[in-house]
Amino acid sequence: MPFETLVAGCLAYVVLMFAVAFAADRAAARGRIRWLDHPLVYTLSLSVYCSAWTFYGAVGYATRSGLEFATIYLGPTIVFAGAWWGLRRLVRVARMHHVTSIADLISARFGKSNPLAALITLIAVIAATPYIALQLQSVRLSFEVFATETPNGAGLNGAAGGTALWVAAGLALFTILFGTRNLAADERHHGVVTAIALEAVVKLLAFLALGAFVVWGLADGPGDILARIDAASRDPAIAEGWILRADRWTALIVVSAAAILTLPRMFQVMVVEAADEERLHVAGWAFPAYLFAMSLFVLPIAVMGRELLPAEANPDLYMLTLPAASGQNLLAFLVFLGGFSAATSMVVVCAIALATMISNHWIVPGWLALRRRPASEETEDLRRFVLNARRLAILAVMAAGWVYHQASGGAAALAAMGLVAFTGMAQVLPAMLGGLLWRGANRRGAYAGFGSGFFLWLLLIFLPSVGIGQAPPLPATVDPLAFSIFISLSANTLAFVGFSIFGFPDPVERVQGLSFVSAVEPIRHSRMLRGEDRAEPLLAMTRRIWGGDAALEFFQQEASAQGKSGFLPDLTPKFLTRLERRLSGSVGAATAHAMIERVGGGVSLTVSDLLQVADEAQRAKEEAQRLESATTELARTATQLREANDKLTALSVQKDAFLGQISHELRTPMTSVRAFSEILKTPDLSDEERARFAGIIHDEAGRLTRLLDDLLDLSVLESGRAQLNVTAANLHDLIGRALTAASATRADRVFTVDRDMPAEHLGVITDTDRLLQVLINVISNARKYCDADRPVLKIRVRRPAAGGAQIDLIDNGSGIDGPRQSLIFEKFARLNDPARAGGAGLGLAICREIMAALGGNITYLPGQGGAAFRIDLPPRPPAIVSRGHQDAAQ
């Protein structure tokens, strides 16, 4: 096959992958995720386990060591045999805590400790870099096979040499495009997963096609193959390598079983990308079946390759050279695509997983620690920072893999490099299993376990593999790899258990331990963050991570679940727990915990809190589902009642005040009127005096009239008898008119208005005069009360999905503090306000009634860095209802 055709086909395949990922992302954005969420897609995505090492290397491995290659697949098969009680539990606990990576899981379990997560990230990066290099190498080697096949291949060898760079760059682009699109509360990447599922199918088809060709095309069916295998196992040239060694067999099965749980990319697809644990019912048998199919023909291909190809041929490339030597060009191309798929899918997922870990445990915590100035935090957009950190990390991971590939020269056998990564990540296993199964496991144990395991792995496995230092001399009967695995894992486990027994976990750790081991929802400490005033800073902080709308929506949902209206829920332990876990889905458990602690100004846990928490958790576990839902319903009703009662009490106080206020507001102008009209009766007044006093009487009478008009307007609106004069208008014009009308208020102030003109051109059908009245009122209020040195009023208009319009008016003053936010829409709310500025305090009450009459509403938006009002307009006003009232009035 010509090299150019190969490159063209390969590019077409890459374009297909981009298209599939793009289409899946679009479908997911539109909510059509039923087929994306299918358990089979999940199962296929697990096949990133089968990297290029497996695809090409397994045959080479089998050529050298016979059946031993199967250990890499048998370990995962055993783990999946226990999916029902093992993996399901892992996925459930991880989803419950919104865990973003293996490092995040360990850190969340051991007291949300970030240094621990940073250490695991370090191991993961060190272990993964050679592994990524290995994938790049496999792509380069497979290109070279085709380059040397063609007549002018020698000239193209240079081109093939650059492939590693091109592949790395292309994969970085793909990963950044589809892996860092958003920073949702759950880290799922539908586009990536779907593309990988498709690649998994290509991998499998290529392998099975080649296998069938080898067994029935090159050999005479299964019987003949078995005879050849038997003969090969007796061939003195390789028989020594083919005999299974109990120590290696056991150690490799243990390591591969550990790897399926701890490799960052496996954790990403198996746990983080899983919507729930139900899909493991299918994956439990389907993934072992996939592995079975991928290994069924390994031995036949190895045997036939050894028989048919020249002795100096690289066994790691039998997969390609065997069909090519037999003239099966199409088959060779299919195999090439399979290998390409294996390499790329592994690199993409690995880069996403590592980038999440690097950004969540290295970059973001470091950056937050460097910038502890609270003032600057109000405005900065953390979401963009985190996403950029991930993009940077992806580039760094790719670059490191490519540099390693260039530096190592690609000499090492594929299998050796894969095993280095496996054994490194296996060091996480003791802490992971211990953390999930044993409540006594604690952070000191985890540090000691990792520390010793990591050190021994570096010394015995990693450094010798890159040619630095040497493994210690061992007796010939002891296999060095098996020895290193046993020694490092045993030291790791012993240190973990020993230090856990003698250490004492801190309260946060004990709460998390209980939650992980019993798989119950964690309940946060009850002693911190009391009072409504902390809810607003929390909302502001959440906005910085998720963006405004998502944060407001979450807070509103939580508030309404508590039976409260508005955007600020009570800071119950339950709410805080949920918020922290959702946040940890974006930035990791340790950072989320630290941020909430900092913003909330929390008190650390005490032992009595802990007992209370343990009690609550125990109760939650035992309580029946029915009872629980009844209780929440009851609690919600109680909260609603309490809120209504609070409001009534406040209202009754206000009612008394209302009478006093009305009296005051009426008597004040009346006093001037009466005094001056008596004065006018005095005979010896000059003409100017008479004119001036009459003018005062006139002004004060006008003030009285306005007050009475307002009161009347309000009572008409409140009784629902308002007459609506519905017309169509452009919001842009309305806002312009309102700004002009309101500019008379405190005309001396220089007031900047920040508008988004293009977005304002929205048609609305409503009573435009009434809407204008509301806009003028809100804008005048901003002009009156915004206390910033350079007052800025931001006006933002948009059309929600449901139609209508949403107008946000946000100033940069000091805003309205928590307790008063629920009162400002009441009549005479500015009762005892020193800055009453002459008004009677009916404006916002009228606005609220107008918006209700128009079928919309006006609300105060907390946490916007100033006083902020949101006006919601429905697509059209409830015209029929108002006409009905009109008829009733007549």
Binding site: T77, G82, R234, A246, I253, G284, L296
Partner: protein
Amino acid sequence: MPDRPLFLERASFRRRRLGDAARVLPIAATLLILVPAWWIPRSASSAGGAVWLFGLWATLIVAIWALHRALLRAEAATLRAEEAVAEAVRVRAGTATGTPAAAAPAPAAADPEGDPGAV
């Protein structure tokens, strides 16, 4: 609950036994895979070993599939039994309190018709 129905007991009993089987399966699989390599490495390394290994592997996959299917069915059965019990309890409570439970839906049904007349 004093008189927990027998079919609920049986469903949850079956589910628990299947759960035990799910725990034993990976252990049994581990032993069957490891022991030949420890015990008779030479014969396990040849074609016979390959046939044994792949046969065992295929059997294991079928076993996991069957077990998961049975477990899902048992869980569904337990859920159904629990719902039936809850239903029975509700019915008994309904008859004990007499009319209110039965009468409650009636006004709600009449409501849509009553409304226009009122206006």
